[in-house]
């Protein structure tokens, strides 16, 4: 059976306009999402998967998974990754700058002009409201990912065990959980009965 090539590979041949678009999309995402990288995931998916069709669902979630096993801010990892696959090295630079510039600019503006920013009661109320929206958006991603997960006994146990560890055992770095999950995935593949093995990498979509 033909192997499915899932990551679209247009590096080096992207038109300039697309690279500017990459910058712009990540700039907008970086400028409007409060609450860190997780808050950006739904918006990224909107733009990259649903609006521009640059990535398929499963590619997007693959990148999200990889962005969490690699060090650094998830938003930067995603921007670099998407930027490179869509626009080569220049694309990755532009996307990364796009997602970073608003964060740098807003802090400098606050540090220079608004030293009392954090203590302003209206700022605090607005922020608390935005967090309500952010929570809803991350919950949307949770439901979407849960729906497209290939649920097996193993994946259900891994998910449940991770939840138990996250909620009840503090001070566990997510990297160990992710690596553990990946290794269990490899173990499952290794112990799979012969013949059922190699072609089952395709995910339901």
């Amino acid at each position: 059976m033909e192997q499915k090539k899932l990551i679209t590979y247009t590096a080096g041949h992207a038109p300039v306009r697309k690279q500017l678009l990459l910058f712009w999309i990540f700039f907008i995402i970086g400028a409007f999402t409060i609450g860190g990288g997780y808050a950006m995931i739904l918006m990224m998916k909107r733009y990259l998967v649903e609006q521009y069709h640059w990535l398929k669902d499963e590619e997007f979630y693959d990148m999200l998974g990889i962005s969490q096993v690699t060090p650094g801010p998830i938003a930067v990892n995603m921007a670099t990754f998407v930027g490179y696959t869509q626009g080569g090295v220049l694309g990755s630079v532009l996307a990364t700058l796009g997602v970073s510039i608003p964060a740098v600019a807003v802090i400098i503006i606050i540090a220079v002009f608004f030293p009392g920013f954090k203590d302003n009661v209206w700022v605090q109320r607005f922020f608390a409201g935005v967090i309500v929206g952010v929570v809803a958006q991350i919950a949307t991603i949770v439901l979407d990912l849960g729906k497209r997960q290939k649920w097996t006994i193993v994946s259900a146990v891994v998910c449940a065990a991770s939840l138990v560890i996250l909620f009840f055992v503090h001070q566990v770095s997510p990297i160990w959980l992710i690596l553990g999950g990946g290794l269990i995935g490899i173990a499952v593949e290794a112990f799979k009965p012969r013949g059922a093995g190699t072609t089952t990498t395709k995910r339901t979509s």
Partner: protein, 179 residues
């Protein structure tokens, strides 16, 4: 702080933290605290906590917000750019290396099994993020009801709903309702 801290030292601290913290910007905060407040004593604890609070309520990745803040306070505008670049570069380089071989990811049986295996963990991490962000940031019970309402709106209207407007509206709601 009277001693001038060199740009190289600033860059080094943030590069190291960007290189060795897994799990996103939030995971960097304890490490930053250990380095900046305890080991190097560049930033007093109270100021550090202010930086964290502001970074969490401003747009953009928390790690970059923090880096910019510390860099600016210690060495001004150039300092801010140096620290921000420091925290971004490790991610950028590592992902670039991975992305150049990414087209073979799903064609390799073992890498594919690895990626399938970690997905339920990512699901668990996101679920936990919903919980911890809600618990840390939503000040009243009805905020949870509002979050549920917004979730249902997003699910019902899907693409037709502008997500930025949703956040702005939620912020407006906060201005009116939270006390």
């Amino acid at each position: 702080m009277n001693v001038m801290i060199s740009f190289l030292a600033l860059f080094g601290v943030f590069f190291k933290i960007g290189m060795f913290t897994f799990g996103g910007g939030q995971a960097m905060i304890p490490l930053l605290q250990k380095d900046l407040v305890v080991n190097l004593a560049w930033v007093p604890m109270k100021e550090f906590l202010d930086f964290v609070a502001i970074s969490e309520i401003t747009p953009g990745p928390v790690a970059i917000n923090m880096a910019t803040f510390v860099g600016y306070k210690l060495r001004g505008l150039t300092g801010a750019l140096v620290t921000s670049l420091g925290v971004i570069l490790p991610s950028f380089i590592i992902i670039l290396i991975i992305a150049t071989v990414a087209h073979t990811f799903r064609t390799n049986r073992w890498v594919s099994a690895f990626l399938d295996g970690l997905q339920p963990v990512v699901l668990a991490l996101l679920t936990y993020a919903v919980y911890s962000i809600a618990r840390g940031g939503i000040p009243a019970w009805w905020g949870y009801i509002a979050a549920l309402g917004i979730l249902l709106l997003i699910l019902k209207y899907g693409k037709k709903l502008n997500l930025f407007l949703v956040l702005l509206a939620a912020g407006g709601l906060g201005l009116l309702m939270f006390r």
